[in-house]
Every structure is written in C-alpha cells, then in structure tokens.
C-alpha cells in the first residue's frame, strides 16, 4: 500500500506560505476554447501525473471514428413538465455562458462533439421528481463525446441524475449554470462495465445565494477521471461536493476537485470517501481550493477518507489550499487513508458477528452518512447495493486467499 497525503495545515500557516498575490492558480490551467492551449500531455504535468495516459483509449486525440450517442437523443421524451432538452450552436453555447474547457479532453469535446445540448430548467420551477438521464454504452470501442449545458433558472429547485452504465470511451464537458437563489442537486453515478473509460469535466457556476450539491459516485470503469470545478457568479453561493468511489483490482478512479472562491461570502464543503481492494486498485483524489483576494468571509472545508481493504492498492490523496486573503470565516482540510479499524471489528465480533459480516457493517457505515447526504432517496438503495456487491468480492477473494 502506498499512501500520499498532506497533513492538515492551519489557516495562518497557509496564509504565510501563500506566494505573492498575483497568482491565478498554478494547480489549474486557465480555461480556453483554443485547442492549441491544451497540448497533448506527457504525463509529467501536475494535472496528469497520476493518470495512466496509455489507458485513455485515444481520448487525448481527435476521434478516429464517428462519436456515438449514449442516450441523450432519447432523453428528451421523459422529462418533467417545463424542462426542455434542445440543441444549440457552438456560438449559442458560448453566449449562454458555457464554462470553457480547461484540459485537452474537454477541449477535444468542444472541437469534435456533434452537437451541444442544453438542458433547461426554467426559473422558479420546483421539480418533485429527479431528472434522470440514463446513458448507456454498448462497446468500449465506441467513442462518445458529450458537450452539455445544464441551465437552472433562478430560484428553481431540481435534482439531476446522470446514470452511466455499459461500456464506452466517454468524454464529457458539462457546464452547470445555476441561477441566483436556485437549489440544485447533481448526482453522477458511474456504474460502467469493467472496460469503460470516462473522462469528465463538470464545471459548476454557482449563482448569487444559490445552493449546489454535486455528488460523484464511481463503482465501475477501467479508468474514470472526473473533474468537478466550482466557481461563483455572486456572493452568498454555497457548494457541497460529495464523492464515493470503490476501486477493484486494476481500476483507476480519479476525482479532481477545484473550488475557486472568486466571490465573497461563499462557502464550499467537500467530502469524498473511497474504498480500495485488489491488486493495482488505484484511486486519486485531488482537492484544490483557491481563495482569491476578493473572497472575504468565505468558508471552506474539504475531507477525503480512504479505506484500504487489501494489499496491493494505492490511494493518492492530495488536498491543496491556496489562500490569498486571511479575511475568511474558515478554511481547512483533512485526509486520511487507513485499513479496517481492528478495534471496530473486534467490538462487533465480540457480539457474535462473523468477520465478513462485521466488515460489511463497518464499510456500510463508512459510506452510509455520505449516501444519505447525497440526498437522492430514489438512488440510495442502488448505491448501498453497489457497495455491498463490491464488498462481496473482497469477502470471496478473502476466502480463496
């Protein structure tokens, strides 16, 4: 087991350590529509150094074959009243305020996706049911490029679920433009088959006094690398970024967060929890938070916890806090990677609960709060079942070992 983590630091220390006020963020390349600004990575770049580039299946280059559609075309039929799914032109997308790509895969999506889709939730809409987009691939040979704008009108309340299953080489750029005072929950669930590749950039712009909860839940796929980026369009916005991942043998699951506190009195809270099991199961969690000089009175906390279930896994966990003003409410982070707690297992087993059952309970408990926090009751059972299915693999592996 290899673990990299940075110990929590105090705000005061970080302020002193912060370099000159001129920096943007050295951890996050600036967005640009120009593909030339996003050269093919060598693997040594800060943002690529954890990712096995060879396994990206050509998603760093123009697609060799025509991209396939994973189900967006049919998704418009089953939307709640008032919600629309249309296509817009490239120029219209930019006009709408799409967040430009900030890495090569997302720039390639802009360059080569057939269409730009606009999912529109009108202002003041209050949706009782989640909008569920069921995206299924049929072959890891297929390339899917998805460029989407999700616009949540002011004061609207909505839950949007993207279900990814089957197989594909899928690259997506999704902008969430959240209007003032809106309240939105986004759940992206990765239930891919073992050979899928998924690169994603979820770019979230949080309106004034808006509340956004974004959850990335990743079980499947050979390689999944998701960016969730948050910026604010006015003061008072709040973002909660949640994540749950469970990596099996050979899987590379990477979750990268960037919260750009570019407005005062905004808040962010990040909680990602992961479990790893099996040879060369690899997870990466990067939690970047930038507090700009203008961002007075903000509050941010980020936390990543990993539970390593077997030998041969690697959990990389890197929280980064860049602070350009000390006039804030609070900033902190925590990162911990551990094995099962022997004391917890002993306690449960001393009550007669068999070892595998005790592990199941502890792991279920580890994820339970998070699954509840995701706040999509319709999907809770599915997520819990996925956790249990994943764990059943270790238990079986343990029996044969």
């Amino acid at each position: 087991m290899t673990v990299t983590q940075t110990p929590a630091e105090t705000v005061a220390g970080a302020v002193e350590a912060a370099p000159g006020a001129q920096i943007e963020s050295h951890l996050n390349p600036p967005p640009s529509y120009d593909l030339g600004d996003h050269p093919a990575p060598t693997g040594r770049e800060e943002i690529w150094r954890f990712t096995p580039l060879k396994r990206l299946g050509g998603l760093l280059e123009a697609p060799a074959s025509a991209p396939v559609d994973l189900g967006w075309a049919a998704a418009g039929d089953a939307l709640p009243a008032g919600v629309t799914l249309t296509t817009v032109s490239d120029a219209e997308a930019r006009e709408l305020g799409e967040v430009p790509p900030n890495d090569r895969p997302s720039a390639l999506v802009v360059e080569h996706a057939d269409v730009v889709r606009l999912l529109d939730v009108p202002a003041e809409a209050e949706l009782d049911e989640p909008i569920v987009l069921d995206l299924r691939g049929t072959s890891a040979e297929d390339v899917s490029l998805s460029r989407t704008i999700v616009r949540i009108g002011r004061f609207a309340q909505a839950t949007i679920v993207l279900l990814h299953s089957g197989s594909a080489r899928h690259s997506a750029l999704t902008s969430y433009l959240v209007g003032d005072g809106a309240n939105v929950t986004v759940l992206t669930l990765q239930d891919w088959d073992d050979d899928a590749v998924h690169l994603g950039r979820d770019a979230i712009r949080v309106g004034r006094d808006a509340t956004v909860r974004h959850a990335a839940v990743t079980f499947g796929g050979d390689l999944v690398r998701l960016n969730a980026n948050v910026e604010y369009d006015g003061p008072g916005g709040s973002a909660e970024l949640l994540g749950l991942y469970f990596a099996d043998a050979g899987q590379h699951l990477e979750h990268r967060l960037f919260v750009d506190h570019n407005q005062p009195r905004t808040s962010s809270n990040v909680v990602y929890k992961g479990a790893l099991q099996g040879e060369r199961a690899h997870t990466v969690w990067i939690g970047n938070v930038l507090i700009r000089k203008v961002a007075e009175g903000i509050e941010t906390y980020e936390e990543n916890r990993n539970l390593v279930l077997t030998d041969g896994c690697q959990a990389d966990s890197v929280p980064n806090l860049e602070i350009e003003t000390g006039e804030i409410e609070g900033a902190g982070h925590a990162s911990a990677t551990a094995r099962f707690d022997d004391e917890q297992l002993f306690y449960l087993r001393s009550r007669g609960i068999a070892d595998d059952e005790a592990r199941r309970l502890v792991l279920e408990g580890f994820f339970a709060d998070l699954i509840r926090k995701v706040g999509v009751p319709a999907l809770e059972e599915r997520m819990t079942a996925s956790v249990e299915r994943e764990l059943a693999r270790t238990v079986r592996a343990g029996e044969t070992a």
Binding site: Y347, L348, S350, R351, G352, I353, V362, A368
Partner: protein, 253 residues
C-alpha cells in the same frame, strides 16, 4: 450448569521493546450462578484477562488454557467465542460510525441465535432493554456508541448484555466513570442478568464501590499478572479499608 475455567493463563503483548509478559499464570474457575470479582491495582493484568478471554488480537496467549464447559475457547475466533456464550462489556466501548444500534443489535442477535429475531417482539425487547438502562429509545437510531457520553456507553453495554443474554459475562471496569445514579442503574442491570438461570459473571473493577450493589461470591486480588489471593466478599471489605498495600509490599518469597 456451565463452567468457565481459566487455567495457568499466560499472555504477552508486543511492545516497542519486544513482547512483554502481562499474565504470568492466572487460574480461576467460575460456575454458572456465581459472581466473581477481580480486583487489583493498575497494570496487574485484570483487563488483559478479560480481553484475552474474548480474543482481542493485541494479546498473545503464550501458555495455559481457557475452557467453557470443557471446550477450548482459545482455539475459537472472536465471534465463535461470543456464539459459544461469552460476552465482554468493555471499559471503552468502540464507536462504529454509520452503523445504527438497531442494525447492530439485530445483526448480533441473529448471529448468536442463528436466525433473525421476530420483528414485533424484538423491537419491544430492544426498547425495554434501553428503557431499563434509562436510555431513550431514540438510541436505536444512533450510530453504535458514537457521541455517547461515558455513562451512556456503559449503560448501552449492559443493555446489550440484557438482550444478547450470554452464559458468561465479563464486565471490564463497567463502573469506572459512572456517577452514583448511573452506577445504581448499571448494577440493577447486572443483577437482573445474574439473577437469570445459569448465568456466570466476572466483574473486573478497580474500586470496591460497585460491590455494594453487586454482591460477589468470590473475590480475586490480581497482582503482577497472577491471582495473589482469593476469598469471599470479606476480602473486598478488607481492600476497601486497607487498599492494595498489603499485596504490593508483601515480603519477597
């Protein structure tokens, strides 16, 4: 009738300086219907005895045996020991975040009985056990021991004792950190358990205070990893009056 026999038990723990011997040959036998108290100064091996019998991985048994009705306890896994009828109430009950007490108790009861408890009576049983320990029934929905006060943790241990109904219970310093009201509640629970047919109790304590409420049949004084002396309840009275000095400063043999 059941019998728990501890014979010449020797136990060590790993330390930075290598293995350290804690128990140097402990022998005692508890029969069902009896309450034994183990007393002794800090570091005398009281808790080590408890955790070794329960099978905590930190302790290595280097000699001796533990038999429950003639069955070799030390060859059993931790959960097998519980299913054989042993229960350990811990001095520091462990928090298990995200696992509700209700789920935990039902899972434990199912494991012990080999079948799930009947839903209707079980909920009533759980609420009754919590109520007897002056714990709100809302505790069912809380994570195991998480955020419980010290006293609540101890009372929750006794509620488990009540519900899981083992043959032999080992209570490790169940009285430490309890105020007098909580001590009485906990003692009532212990007495209710030991009043059932065929139950044996091993009560480990640093203080004599709890022995005013829970009457031991036999008192063992532990010193330096051995039973230094065993006797009736009057031995506890003597300790109450004189402390452990007589045992600690005994002339070298």
């Amino acid at each position: 009738m059941s019998k728990l026999e501890i014979r010449d038990l020797q136990v060590s723990v790993d330390t930075e300086d290598g293995p350290k011997e804690i128990l140097k040959g402990v022998t005692l036998t508890i029969e069902s219907g009896q309450t034994h108290a183990i007393m002794g100064p800090n570091g005398s091996g009281k808790s080590t005895t408890a955790y070794s019998i329960a099978g905590h991985p930190k302790y290595t048994v280097t000699g001796g045996e533990v038999l429950l009705d003639g069955e070799d306890v030390l060859s059993m896994s931790v959960d097998e020991r519980a299913r054989a009828g042993l229960f350990l109430a811990m001095q520091y009950p462990v928090e298990v975040p995200g696992v509700s007490m209700a789920n935990f108790l039902r899972t434990a009861k199912t494991a012990l009985d080999g079948e799930a408890p009947k839903l209707r009576t079980w909920v009533k049983d759980v609420n009754g056990a919590l109520d007897r320990m002056r714990l709100d029934t809302a505790f069912s929905a809380r994570s195991v021991n998480e955020g419980f006060s010290g006293g609540e943790k101890k009372r929750a241990e006794i509620a488990q004792l009540d519900l899981l109904d083992p043959k032999f219970a080992i209570l490790d310093e169940i009285d430490s950190g309890l105020d007098i009201d909580a001590l009485k509640v906990v003692s009532d629970g212990i007495n209710a358990f030991s009043g059932r047919d065929g139950k044996g109790l091993l009560l480990i304590t640093h203080y004599t205070r709890i022995l005013r409420y829970v009457q031991p049949d036999v008192v063992h004084v532990f010193v330096d990893g051995r039973v230094a002396e065993s006797g009736g309840p009057e031995l506890a009275d003597e300790l109450e009056a004189n402390g452990y000095d007589r045992f600690l400063h005994a002339p070298l043999a």
